[in-house]
Symmetry: none
Subunit: 202 residues, 4 copies
DNA sequence: GATGAATGAGGGTTCATTCAT
DNA sequence: TATGAATGAACCCTCATTCAT
């Protein structure tokens, strides 16, 4: 028991529990048990349950920002950049899968502060995506569209395939499956060539 | 007060509260107050809080099934059917918006049973979509793809644009905006014509 | 169990426990056990522990006021009035001994609000006494003196003989003993007649 | 840091905190911080918090005994002795104000042992006073009276004027004010000369 | 049948005490 | 020996559920 970093142990346990059971259903007793630590120990590092939660969100925010900053290369083609960043997010996910899950697990907390945390997480990615899409439209790489809506759709689709999917399926999608489908929806569309491009008016 | 259907009153109140505050934050006291009945009365109709919740999911499931059955016309083109059904879901949503919200409000329940309820709701739609996609692929209307993944993506995208979006934006998207973007992603893709179809190998 | 007034039961139990053990050492579990009531029941009547405490102070304040109002007869001699009121307070004590004890049991509560409550209790009596002493001085019934200090001394002496004494002695003082000694200190003094009235300068 | 007496440091810090915040509100963390030692260090000198408290009471008891022994001069007049001792207590108080405050701060401790400590402190002074009063009665300097009750009244009055008063007033009473009032109550009484000495029978 | 007062298990938090360093 | 991180019992409070009316 000598070299264990109890703070990290607790953060990991809490992250796992928040992701798996949500905020309310995560009890400090449970976190303590998962971390194999006394309940009181948690309070040596975090003032309240909310504090513990905030810290997790903050850490995720920070790592996310790094990933995004590293992934966007100004001069590269739109889809190159998109998939490089999404790929990086995927790595981020495999390291810290639970952080991403948090995004959806947080809802009924009530405190504006905690909710803000989650929204900031989402907001950060949306901002990056939106800027990237605007730039893609400006360069003529993608069709004119509402960048805010498309950014939102991209994020949600990404989360759906990387995280939500695992809630109802035992086997996660492979990195290739995820990239192929994102490409399918956001680059090419499903429609077979040769089809008419508008549904007949009903 | 003679002829009021107390059971319906309670179901309506609980639905509203579950949708607005989530499962945990909905107290039986609150449901009783909204329904304007005694707290004990709830227990004459529903054995537990979970029972009450299950009943709401079950009812939603039933109505959903009707919507789907009515919307799918075997002979019509793929995208005709898709948008007719999604449009119908939109109507279903405006009538029972709260039911759909439930899908995300249920997360931290913990009890496998309650989660099952939500998954059944989701599963029903997925099943319909998957069958529809398989049929579309078979008829050559859409590209060959994994119907399960695509169905899942469609549902999530639909929920994202109709429901999730409203959590961070004051104004909901219009029905037209929703349909246009679904079409954009699932029919045509974002890429401008004239572009190369694969990202450069990294 | 039919006709019991649970609110009164709880108030009585809490009063007893606050008086005996003090604010902090009184646990809601203890109050519940003394009152023979479920812990949750307390919270049906009182929002918090502090609320419960406040209610007790408030009730004491009210009864105290009645006693004082009834005991002071404007025209009567000073010591008649003094002993009538003190006698009445003694009755008040035998009915509600615990309320008076509260005055000293409240100290380390911390919340300004709760402390106010106790100070109000003390302040009410002090106010009455001070007015009465001023009137006694004005009529020449007692020597000129600082009414505020004398009022404070009277109250503390009264509480010392009626309440504090019992903390270290098994048998309370009799009503006669209390009155005799109050008379001794506040009317006549201890000094034997024939003595010189000032201590020799040291 | 070599030559500091850690035990004394801790005793001083604890005394200050007990006096200022009371027994319950004094945490071992706080004592450690005030004493500028590690929390564990306290436990090398004192087995428990109660032990620490007891030691403080014992020390106060000892100093008190010295004060009393020095103040009583067998041959002097009663009131000379009384005021010399009370005066000395006042000095004792200005040196160790906190010890005296302790007397009232200890109330909600609950443990019979700790309460005993306080009672011993009180008992010591009472014993001295009682002996002195008995002697005064024997010499005819003061009226026959119950020495135990009078001693108790004197102590309480003394504490009331020196300590309790400060809790509700910004300015402490001066030494002269305290002595004058003690004389007023215990020597001469409040009643104007020329008054009848018994209240009219009610 | 309808009610809501009563309940107690379980939640977050504090703090006296221990013990590995 | 001195330390303070770690601990868990015990605190106050919430709320799903029961049951006498």
């Amino acid at each position: 028991m000598a070299g264990v970093d109890r703070r990290a142990l607790i953060l990991k346990a809490a992250t796992q529990s928040f992701a798996q059971f949500g905020y309310k259903a995560t009890t400090m007793d449970l976190v303590a048990k998962i971390a194999n630590v006394g309940k009181g120990t948690i309070y040596t590092f975090f003032k309240t349950k909310e504090d513990l939660f905030d810290e997790i969100v903050r850490k995720a925010l920070h790592e996310l920002k790094s990933v995004l900053d590293l992934g966007l290369h100004e001069g590269d083609p739109f889809f190159d950049n998109l998939f490089r960043v999404l790929g990086a997010l995927l790595e981020f996910r495999s390291d810290h899968e639970l952080f991403i899950k948090l995004q959806q697990e947080v809802r009924d907390i009530g405190t504006a502060k905690a909710l803000d945390g989650t929204h900031r997480l989402e907001g950060l990615v949306l901002e990056y995506l939106q800027r990237h899409i605007e730039s893609g439209v400006a360069k003529g790489e993608i069709k004119p569209c509402d960048p805010e809506i498309v950014a939102y759709a991209m994020l949600k689709m990404y989360v759906a395939l990387t995280t939500d999917w695992n809630k109802i399926h035992a086997n996660p999608l492979t990195k290739a499956q995820i990239q192929d489908h994102l490409m399918l929806f956001f680059a090419d569309g499903l429609r077979s060539s040769g089809e008419i491009s508008k549904p007949s008016t009903s």
